[in-house]
Symmetry: D2
Subunit: 236 residues, 4 copies
Amino acid sequence: MIMTTDPVTLMKQEVGKAAAGRVKSDSIVGLGTGSTTAFAIQYIGERLASGDLKNIVGVPTSFQAEVLAKRYGIPLTTLDAIAHIDVAIDGADEVDPQKNLIKGGGAAHTREKVVDSLAKEFIVVVDGGKLVDKLGSTFLLPVEVIPMAVTPVMRKLEELGGKPDLRMGVKKAGPVVTDQGNLVIDVKFDDIADPASLEATINNIPGVLENGLFVGVADVVLVGEIIDGKPNIREF
Amino acid sequence: MIMTTDPVTLMKQEVGKAAAGRVKSDSIVGLGTGSTTAFAIQYIGERLASGDLKNIVGVPTSFQAEVLAKRYGIPLTTLDAIAHIDVAIDGADEVDPQKNLIKGGGAAHTREKVVDSLAKEFIVVVDGGKLVDKLGSTFLLPVEVIPMAVTPVMRKLEELGGKPDLRMGVKKAGPVVTDQGNLVIDVKFDDIADPASLEATINNIPGVLENGLFVGVADVVLVGEIIDGKPNIREF
Amino acid sequence: MIMTTDPVTLMKQEVGKAAAGRVKSDSIVGLGTGSTTAFAIQYIGERLASGDLKNIVGVPTSFQAEVLAKRYGIPLTTLDAIAHIDVAIDGADEVDPQKNLIKGGGAAHTREKVVDSLAKEFIVVVDGGKLVDKLGSTFLLPVEVIPMAVTPVMRKLEELGGKPDLRMGVKKAGPVVTDQGNLVIDVKFDDIADPASLEATINNIPGVLENGLFVGVADVVLVGEIIDGKPNIREF
Amino acid sequence: MIMTTDPVTLMKQEVGKAAAGRVKSDSIVGLGTGSTTAFAIQYIGERLASGDLKNIVGVPTSFQAEVLAKRYGIPLTTLDAIAHIDVAIDGADEVDPQKNLIKGGGAAHTREKVVDSLAKEFIVVVDGGKLVDKLGSTFLLPVEVIPMAVTPVMRKLEELGGKPDLRMGVKKAGPVVTDQGNLVIDVKFDDIADPASLEATINNIPGVLENGLFVGVADVVLVGEIIDGKPNIREF
């Protein structure tokens, strides 16, 4: 455990710890991506090591989750070997009051949606800055698309009212490539009035694999905030 | 031109010729996949060579279309370079009376749907054996899916009433892999009551790229039949 | 166990059983692809179930091996979790007297070479029909190549004296695609005089991932033959 | 043309202009990646537009080259349509006195090697900071590898004396993914005594697609330097 006195890090630790505390023995756990989720993975590992938790198998949503789970001693499995997921813990880039999410800042939203949507209980862990009244207010909507369809999909997204931009790489010439070998279009929507409908409409554009809208998937949101310089967690 | 006296081949030639005859000069043409479409590509090339047709650019839906277009001298472009497609010519595995289609026997339906759905006019070329009263009667519905999601997607397809099967390779150990690096699940549905709804529902399952239902995409269907031992073409 | 009286199947069973019999408890086992290897996987599973064998982890070389290992109860791991492989069991398309191999009929030779070359002991299981005096006598050499480089790689292979052909798909329009999303060129060489040199030369052509020559990788070859109508196994 | 008075940018413009000036009419040109090469692409386009150059077709090595070529009006083709490349212009991360290179900072070295190695004349454009006495002095050697083989390939690279590190993404969770869907290992070698031998040895490790050593590929190196505050170009 790295000791820290930085209030933001302390807060993320507390949220991760709270989520890890909800995992029960004998369960299959979806392991998400991101800095807060990373603390949850660490605490699940510590509970396993101490004997407080028994018989846990993890399903990673990303390379990062896989590496952390191995480091903290959480046995892993794949979706081929299981029939359901008991609980998934994952972050988000935006959360609205109905617990709908935008994810995909890390270009991992497709695998995350596959795993998170299989969980009986999906716990979202975020800091207070991710809360919005309306999705699309602060964050772009990521859309994963096969390379040959980038241009027509961009045109379709414009027809839907969005301003699309191909996500370009850093430490890589050209566009960011996802773990599936696809590209990511980040779309600015001024107003996402009906997230459920937009999610389905975009997924139905030929060439789109998955977009970052998660509507009706989250069950619990744990929000970390700093109140009077101290970390505080609330749930909704 | 290979001369043939086989009535089925003659019929396919005639349907391909009829479709190729509808292409106008100065247009962008989507080039589909399959044995009948192959004749259409050949005839477009011959019309270009004879000067009957001028200023054509093709957009291939597959490796096969690309190879044939190059052989018959049709200049090619990509979707990045054009803003629309004037006419697309492509085959189908099943066609219902509303011109809805099942495609994907060649595992190429994702790229085909991207191209065909961009065309102002999409001409389907089939022989009479592909006509069905209801989609799903004779052909399985292909669903392209990312490898890590095969098992949960299969389970979802069963919940929708289908009997899913992973398409296995020939001349390749393990499953067929698509040009996008994904796998194909072939699904038997006893009854596809509402193709439009099923198309959208399946595309919205996390991990699905595209399924073989083409609803409301085809404009014209050219059907080749053998009547009294002679090829005959009708349109609907 | 499926009972059979077919001598070829009986022979494959015996070879698979012989290979499985060489696996020791507490070891990491590379699990290959093919019909004879499938029997080895089955027998390893049976030895585990009976308690004759303990503490085995498998590393599959293909989807087929993974499915069989799960069916027969062999726990699996990935190359990220282990530092070596104790023994690998895999088939081959051709074996020469120096135990050099051609593999890749199933387009899985890249992953197979990664796994087999890590094994302290690599046991090849084949029937007598796979034995050749010189590699290339009866089987084409498979070369896995990235799609954009197919044409220049084919030209290079011709300069090396080969007759290259792109492997085309069945139940898939266009070429066979490997599990890595690449294509396979099958090359006819009239005479592979120096397999070690050809293996390195081809792997050094820009755009080539891996070719099917396995030189100096195999340690033991178990050959099944039918003598007087009965299965017989010899080793070299 | 963007006007600039920044000496570094001026120098890159001059080097790009010099390389573009060597392209002759009626030739097939390999178009590389990077900021200096970008100026070369721009100048080739301007020479085409002015009529100074005629009948040029470009072969892009990357998405970036493709976008720039389209912007500046250079017609493009693919390797399937041509039998050779007349001249290629590309950058490098390190150049030694024998004109051997390290490339791959943009994770595009595989496609670059395919294109650059086909060119009758390969012109390297760099600024003086890229010149080294020995390869590996300042830049890590990028190795493109299939995902399942990352760990054993890293171990092999350590045995060869390297310090390997998986290149991690920015604007993407987990590792950088290449245009081919593979990962990149950046390797620190204290001393690359024999680049030709190391290039072949690494390419022969199972699971490696291509490494960033370009030995014996470059024909001409154009070096931009600032002397007395003014851009200067020398060739070797």
